[in-house]
């Protein structure tokens, strides 16, 4: 029994943390928000693209570090590491609200394709960062970063929550190549920085791997998103702690008010207990534990709820300043709200745990 990361794992995490702090500060997340107005006439992005290349560079920097191939075999140019290694990196990408499909590319599609023999010959490109992947789980329709991805996978279980999983590759339409850019109309999402495209019809049903591969791919994705949610929660908490120490009202820092203390203590508590569930699920996947799916669902449900509590409480502790797009909090808040329902919301995952518990 040893429930801690290795020094190597933590050192890798620290290196990625340093890189992301440099390559993906709030202004880079902000630069990823598209210009223009939404259906209500609101300007979401501020066109703050002082250096638009930095958005792209935050991705290539990760590729250069080898991070995108972390879960790919060495034969395919990867680092052949496990969930116990990448779960911390996923958390860091959440902390900075990385505007790229890290979960989908590095944690789901690349390892899935790697494990089934790279049928489309794209793993090297995924690892190199020259191709991005997206995944649409659970009969959804939203393709994150759908304007840039060039490999698209549908993950589903049939006929219901305890049916077998299937991974299907979309080979026409949004996927594989970007010759049909005009179809990639960005849907208007509260988290515009994720560049969601709504998938209409798609052309191919070719199946990738077996049911077990698909199930594993789903668990990896749900776990990685859970880790991102923990990271997002921590970021919102950090921003807010800094703010309430400084902001003074009634002659005292608002952080000295008991109500503010309790709001933030509750957020910290929820994250403190969600995080181990996330790490344990990573271990369960690596160990081939027969309750790995239950562990993943426990992690995603707890992380989703913790992140949503963080959304509510950190916004409330800011007051009006947090309620503006000029302040950074909203970048993390909207990502957290969206991801809390992506890859199955908390209630969906609790249903899966219920099934595993036989109730």
């Amino acid at each position: 029994m040893r429930f801690a990361f290795t020094d190597d794992q933590l050192a890798f995490r620290d290196a990625v943390r340093d890189l992301l702090a440099k390559e993906c500060p709030p202004e880079v997340v902000r630069a990823a928000w598209p210009d223009g107005t939404d259906a209500h006439g609101a300007r979401k992005g501020e066109g703050a693209r002082a250096d638009p290349d930095r958005v792209a560079r935050s991705w290539t920097a990760l590729a250069d570090m080898g991070v995108l191939g972390i879960a790919v075999s060495e034969a395919n140019g990867g680092l052949a590491m496990g969930a116990g290694d990448w779960v911390l990196l996923a958390e860091e990408t959440g902390y900075v609200a990385l505007p790229h499909p890290f979960v989908e590319t590095a944690c789901v599609v690349a390892p899935l394709l790697d494990s089934v023999g790279d049928p489309d010959g794209v793993v090297a490109e995924l690892v190199a960062g020259t191709r991005q992947a997206a995944v649409v789980p659970l009969t959804g329709s939203l393709v994150p970063w759908g304007d840039a991805v060039t490999y698209l996978l549908l993950l589903d279980h049939r006929p219901s929550v305890d049916g077998p999983w299937v991974a299907r590759r979309v080979s026409r339409g949004v996927a594989l190549g970007n010759e049909q850019d005009e179809q990639r109309h960005l849907a208007s999402s509260i988290d515009a920085g994720r560049h969601v495209v709504q998938l209409g019809a798609w052309a191919s049903k070719s199946v990738v791997g077996h049911s077990d591969d698909a199930a594993m791919a789903f668990d990896r994705g749900a776990l990685a998103v859970a880790a991102q949610l923990v990271g997002l929660g921590r970021r919102m908490l950090d921003i807010t702690v800094d703010y309430v120490k400084e902001r003074r009202q009634f002659g005292v820092p608002i952080g000295s008010q008991q109500a503010v203390k309790h709001h933030l203590a509750d957020v910290a508590k929820s994250l403190e207990f969600a995080a181990p569930a996330v790490y344990a699920a990573a271990w369960a996947i690596d160990a081939g534990d027969d309750q790995a799916s239950r562990a993943v669902s426990t992690a995603k449900a707890l992380a989703s709820d913790a992140a949503r509590l963080a959304v509510r409480n950190t916004l409330q502790c800011h007051g009006a300043i947090g309620y503006t797009v000029e302040y950074d909090l909203h970048l993390y808040l909207k990502r957290a709200e969206a991801l809390s329902r992506a890859w199955g919301d908390a209630a969906w995952h609790r249903r899966r745990v219920a099934a595993a518990l036989g109730i």
Partner: protein
């Protein structure tokens, strides 16, 4: 006890309903069925068009006397109109901060000349009023305001300096009402004056900025030696007396917290829509055989939200009855803002959970959710409201 409406009230309702249905359709058609948010430049103009329609129909401020642009409706009729307005899907009122916050203060503290000038133009959406309360360092702690108004007897007016912020729709409005420190030696809530300020005077700069949903719903207003002439508003720019601003303003914030800002009709309409949304999604899920699509626990939350909206409606009927019969609502009003602001978040969060992964897409529910999140913050944070309720209603010691 009699919870039925009179025939006259039913007639009022039916008339309002028919009018709203017809005029809303006509308004939408005038704008090619593409109505933008009222907190954007283009959308604000669309909404002004709607406000003028309301005024022409006599529905801009139903409870005001006719002489000021209203129709002299009773409080009951006002509640009915609000129910019908939100049931019909009427848009946000871009004149709201004037009509619901400034106007009650003008009725209470304004001179007849001020009333005659301000109210009708407000109802007609000719003057558009925004609220100048908060400053960068004075949010919840309103008594720490530092915006100054210095008397200039020679020119007959006030010289304004300082900055207001979080001014809702400030970028689109023509006038601002707010508190300024007229006694430079005063501290906290003393020496403040409630001023009425046209925003087109020299030395005033307005900069709009984005709300959580991206709408340019906020503004900063900068005053740099802006000269506010005493006759900039017929009847004078001071509401109440010089140095009386705090007590005058408290009357306004009490309107803001109370019933006039957020009538129950707004929330009962949202709750009814949530019930409809659940019914549709559940039926679709059953129809498609996808039992996962709608969580069975959601029905309970939908009903919970519906019941809380109903409780707010009923509690308001009590309040209005007491008011009509000259009894004080007493404790009742202290809990109103807590209730509706938390209810609004609950209704919208439940709706997003019904919608599932697609909830993040822009639409009335995600838009409404973002707006609802501001409810526990504006008009006095809910933390402050709980303090107030505990101290004033329960009599707990201040500290």
């Amino acid at each position: 006890m009699d919870l039925t409406w009179s025939d006259a009230e039913d007639r009022f309702r039916n008339k309002a309903r028919d009018w709203l249905e017809r005029e809303l359709a006509a308004w939408r058609a005038r704008h090619d069925d593409r109505i933008l948010s009222g907190d954007t430049a283009e959308g604000f103009e669309q909404h002004l068009d709607w406000e003028r329609t309301l005024f022409e129909g006599g529905y801009a401020a139903v409870s005001w006397p006719e002489e000021h642009g209203g129709r002299g409706a009773s409080r009951w009729e006002w509640l009915i109109f609000e129910e019908e307005y939100y049931r019909a899907g009427g848009p946000q009122r871009v004149t709201q901060n004037g009509i619901f916050l400034l106007a009650p203060t003008v009725f209470e503290f304004g001179t007849p000349e001020q009333q005659a000038h301000i109210l009708r133009r407000m109802a007609a959406a000719e003057d558009l009023w925004c609220q100048g309360w908060s400053e960068p360092n004075a949010g919840s702690d309103l008594a720490s305001l530092t915006c100054r108004a210095t008397r200039d007897e020679a020119r007959g007016g006030w010289v304004l300096n300082g900055q207001k912020t979080w001014t809702t729709r400030g970028a689109f409005c023509t006038h601002l009402f707010g508190l300024f420190r007229t006694d430079p030696d005063s501290a906290r809530h003393k020496g403040l004056t409630y001023l009425l300020v046209p925003l087109d005077v020299d030395g005033v700069t307005v900069r709009g900025f984005g709300r959580l949903d991206g709408d340019e719903g906020f503004a900063e207003v900068f005053f740099e030696d802006a000269f506010l002439a005493d006759d900039a508003i017929p009847g004078g720019v001071v509401l109440g007396g010089v140095g009386e601003g705090w007590s005058v303003a408290m009357a306004t914030t009490s309107s803001e917290r109370g019933l006039t800002l957020r009538a129950p009709g707004r929330f009962t309409a949202t709750a009814d829509r949530l019930v409809d949304l659940y019914r549709e999604r559940h039926a679709a899920a059953v129809g498609s055989g996808d039992t996962d699509a709608v969580d069975p626990g959601l029905r309970d939350r939908v009903v919970q939200g519906w019941m809380k909206a109903e409780a707010y409606r009923l509690q308001t009927l009590q309040t209005v009855t007491d008011d009509a019969e000259g009894r004080s609502a007493g404790a009742r009003s202290s809990f109103v803002k807590l209730w509706w602001s938390e209810l609004d978040v609950e209704l919208h969060e439940t709706a997003l959970d019904v919608l599932g992964a697609e909830a993040e897409l822009d639409g009335p529910w995600s838009k409404g959710w973002q707006f609802a999140l501001s409810g526990p913050i504006y008009a006095g944070t809910n933390e402050i409201q709980r303090n107030i309720a505990a101290e004033r209603v329960l009599g707990l010691p201040r500290k």
